[in-house]
């Protein structure tokens, strides 16, 4: 295809991506190094018959003028990155000095919002991704072993948790684990503790969020593996059987190697998706127990005062996190490409 034709064909979508993905990236970079102007405060001397008093007041006009003149705000450099809401350099240093042992240091770090968010995000990503893959594989093998006639309905119901809006799916689960809901009452029954509430307990909340994550994502792994299972080489399976391989050995030495490339694909997609975990935290109202990077940005942007530079700094750090997660894939592609 000629360069010029190519350009015309990709123009609309590249323009959309340039304007609404690439420029915003630049925009968050710029915003994160500026902070909003402080209000201009003037001291006015009021002199009356009983002497002079000094009052300080906000000079609305001057503030407005300053904001209009420099709409981005005051240049702050990396100040926002280092403050308590983000990398919290001073606080970490203090915690390091004061901490007695690693456990104590860890506990102190979790009091800092950014570290709390990144810790949960990473824990969620690296717990949910492998569990999703394992559960998805098990469902795929089971469905593949089921009678052909019932496979359609099986796939239909399996797709539900994935297709349903994450916010809605997690709400449905949240209502069931409510202390007055069916799972919540069942948990109370099992634990023998009528005051047990998932909402009040940090470990239980973490577990429920991760359970939701696996529930939501494993249908994807299932579908991909199921499609992979249809293409397993029947001859290889049969010769393995003739050679005396047990059922388990056949799965281990024939089926699994065949599915390995699919596993890389699923893991890549799942890492990207789990890293952005956000909606369940809103639905579960879990922010007291668990926050994620995306939730931190949402929280900064919402509410009465939009803290744009704080949100921008968290966004930049999140993008860096995504880049680190993706780097193995990118490096591999780079190498493959060089070989061609």
């Amino acid at each position: 295809m000629k360069h010029k034709t190519f350009l015309w064909f990709v123009l609309p979508s590249s323009l959309a991506m340039l304007l609404f993905i690439f420029f915003p990236l630049i925009s968050i970079l710029v915003q994160s190094v500026y902070v909003a102007h402080d209000q201009v405060i003037v001291t006015v001397e009021n002199c009356g018959p009983f002497g002079c008093t000094e009052t300080t007041m906000i000079d609305q006009g001057a503030t407005e003028a300053l904001r209009r003149e420099q709409p981005l705000g005051r240049f702050a450099g990396v100040e926002t990155y280092l403050d308590r809401g983000h990398l919290a350099v001073t606080e970490v240093g203090r915690a390091w000095d004061a901490a007695q042992g690693w456990r104590d240091f860890g506990a102190r770090m979790l009091n800092l919002p950014f570290y709390k968010a990144i810790f949960f995000t990473l824990a969620y990503t690296f717990v949910v991704t492998p569990l999703t893959i394992v559960l998805g594989f098990m469902i795929a093998v089971a469905v593949n072993g089921a009678a052909r006639a019932i496979r359609g309905p099986l796939i239909f119901f399996s797709l539900l948790p994935m297709i349903v809006t994450p916010l809605v799916g997690s709400l449905i689960l949240f209502w069931m684990i409510d202390a007055r809901g069916i799972i919540g009452s069942a948990l109370q029954e099992i634990a023998g503790d009528p005051s047990l509430s998932v909402k009040a307990s940090t470990p239980l909340m973490w577990i429920m969020l991760m359970v939701y994550g696996v529930w939501h994502a494993s249908p994807f792994a299932f579908i991909v593996y199921y499609a992979g299972l249809q293409t397993v080489n029947k001859d290889t399976l049969e010769s393995a059987m003739i050679d005396g391989a047990t059922r388990w050995q056949r799965i281990l030495y024939v089926v699994l190697p065949h599915l390995l490339p699919l596993t890389t694909f699923i893991a890549l997609i799942q890492l990207m998706d789990n890293f952005r975990i956000f909606e369940p935290i809103v639905s579960f109202a879990a922010s007291a127990h668990a926050t994620s990077l995306s939730w931190a940005i949402y929280n900064d942007l919402g509410g009465e005062t939009r803290q744009l530079s704080s949100a921008a700094a968290t966004s930049v750090l999140t993008v860096l996190g995504v880049a680190i997660l993706l780097s193995p894939v990118l490096v591999r592609t780079w190498r493959d490409f060089g070989r061609r």
Partner: protein
């Protein structure tokens, strides 16, 4: 395939049946439970006394006189004007799907036919964009949208969702177009068509299966989005998902959590129908990326 050696031992069979039943319950029960409960009053769905009341609807009988009540739906759709959100959602989905498919087919076709290196890098950059959480971009939009008075309009949300959709759409359509033989459009060009004419008269008639599948996923992205729509739409332009989230903030305290339950069921119902009709396309779409690497 009924060779004796391939038959499963009984214990394994039982295990598979048990496991599948368990998974079916896990996957489907929450939805059935919520659908059933949405026709009860709050005292039954969140029963302090006995969880079984949600099944039998004891308080519903006491309060309304019937075993089922449409109060939740009435409150959500009429009193809280959920219908407005439904209209907005329909508009957003319709336009997002149409525009992103138009952009995507053009781009995906070009990417599948170009043999130069930049096409490859274009796709890699799209992959990186696909990995970015949408909410990180939102903080980049807000100041600009405020300044140019773009904030709050449906059209802004539509174009933003189209852009966020593009990387995925391009990847998917790229792999579909790769499967359409090159000879097809090249022979048309030998006959004197320009590249665009070849695309128009030869490729468009055969591309629909791929386009429908991709369209389903674009629809899902627009329909399910919360991060973007919650942040850049004003209150009266809200789509359904942020509207539900706003129920949680305000009405839960008023004891009208049933509005949220009813609207959750309302949002899920179209997705149910969609899976039923398009199950095969969804499955093929999910595997398209994987099988081709």
């Amino acid at each position: 395939m009924s060779i004796k050696a391939q038959q499963k031992p009984l214990t394994l069979k039982l295990f598979i049946i048990g496991f599948l039943t368990l998974w079916m319950v896990l996957a489907a029960f929450p939805f059935i439970w919520t659908l059933w409960g949405s026709f009860k009053v709050e005292g039954d769905f969140f029963s302090k006394a006995d969880w079984a009341w949600a099944m039998t609807g004891r308080l519903t009988k006491v309060e309304t006189g019937g075993h089922f009540t449409g109060q939740g739906y009435q409150g959500a759709w009429i009193q809280e004007e959920f219908w407005r959100a439904a209209v907005n959602s329909t508009l957003v989905c319709l336009f997002v799907v149409t525009i992103s498919l138009t952009f995507g087919t053009l781009g995906g076709y070009a990417l599948s036919r170009s043999t130069y290196r930049y096409a490859f890098w274009f796709l890699i950059i799209a992959l990186i964009f696909r990995a970015l959480p949408p909410i990180t971009l939102v903080s980049g939009y807000l100041p600009v949208f405020f300044q140019f008075n773009l904030w709050g309009h449906l059209s802004t949300a539509i174009i933003v969702l189209v852009a966020i959709n593009q990387p995925f759409t391009l990847w998917m359509l790229h792999s579909f177009f790769k499967n359409i033989p090159k000879d097809l459009d090249e022979s048309a060009m030998v006959d004197g068509c320009t590249r665009f004419q070849a695309f128009r008269h030869v490729i468009i008639p055969v591309m629909w299966p791929g386009v429908i599948t991709t369209g389903l996923f674009s629809f899902l992205l627009a329909y399910n989005d919360f991060a973007v729509t919650a942040m850049i739409l004003s209150k009266e332009n809200q789509t359904m998902v942020p509207k539900i989230a706003s129920f949680l903030g305000t009405t839960q305290t008023k004891g009208n959590v049933m509005f949220a339950v009813a609207s959750v069921v309302s949002v899920t119902a179209p997705l149910f129908v969609m899976i039923m009709v398009f199950q095969r396309q969804i499955v093929s779409g999910l595997t398209a990326g994987a099988v081709k690497g």
